[in-house]
Amino acid sequence: MEELFTSPYFGIALSVAAFGVGVKLNRKLKSPVCNPLIIAIVLIVAVLLIFRIPYESYNVGGEIINMFLAPATACLAVAIYTKIDILKQYWLPIVVGCGAGSAASMGSVWLLCRLFGLDESITASLLPKSVTTPIAVSIAEPAGGVVPITVVAVIFTGILGGIFAPLLIRIFHISDPVAAGLAIGASSHAVGTSKAIELGEVEGAMSGLAIGICGLITVLFSMLC
């Protein structure tokens, strides 16, 4: 029985199947709460627990999928490159906004963690939670963070941004689409960006730019800490 599940094909096939179900459900229910990634994680955890399959067996295939994270992050460069004209036109507000946003995110998380008396490893896991997952993980891991907590916090933050972005734009009276787009991208990375694209072309482009730039700035900040 054991050998059946230690093949790398098992982990890969299970991941693809669970993610497929997640995408289908997401399309049907059209709610940002039904994030395909969250659905896939819940399904796989359930399968592993019910059939008593050790996590290590699943992860033989999982590690192969992990290998694609670095090239996927590198491809954010393509997103920046295709929007280079907007970047040149608005470089100052983009850099100022993303810099201040990244600092506000890390600062507020650090303060709140202190306030709740959370330990160092949880604080390190949460600090980069506003940037896109591959960058957040590569910041949290060497700092002594717990990677899955980072992943869950990042996705949860993205979903929050996706749901509340229109409301926040109204509350804070953000009429400028450049400001709105950058704020969405800085606070809730790729998941928020999918909402920003719905709001408008400028919002979407700005939000997409903010993902890569906030990621870079957050890396620089975390090196200083």
Binding site: N59, A74, I84, I149, A179
Partner: protein, 119 residues
């Protein structure tokens, strides 16, 4: 062959960034070095977007899928989650709102300053 070539180019970029990472005296994520390296290649015209377009679209459109295994490893950390779940939710909500507001207002302020200077 097209896709294989594109995979080859991207993996080569990632491999070179890992080499750079290990040569650097301080720790800097290889994936972010890869992003910078790729951007430089595109800006200098060493690589054209067409060289990697399909593979890049494939990776970025399916970005979430590649995090499935990383997320599943939460199974090993249920204890930590149980003790701090409420705090984690509160932290995420508050800091997301703060980040949003600070970014939006800083951009608004900078754009206003730029416009004033132009006049």
């Amino acid at each position: 062959m097209k896709i294989i070539k594109q995979i080859g180019i991207l993996f080569a970029v990632c491999w070179i960034s890992e080499l750079i990472e290990s040569a650097l005296p301080f720790s800097f994520p290889a994936s972010v070095i890869g992003m910078g390296l790729l951007l430089i290649c595109l800006l200098t015209g060493f690589l054209k977007v067409e060289h990697i377009q399909e593979k890049a679209d494939f990776l970025m459109e399916n970005m979430a899928f590649f995090f499935v295994p990383a997320g599943v490893s939460i199974i090993n950390y249920f204890d930590i989650l149980k003790t701090a779940a409420v705090q984690l939710v509160i932290i995420c909500v508050i800091s997301t709102v703060i980040t949003f507001a600070v970014t939006a207002f800083c951009v608004k302020f900078t754009v206003r300053l730029m416009n004033r200077r132009k006049k």
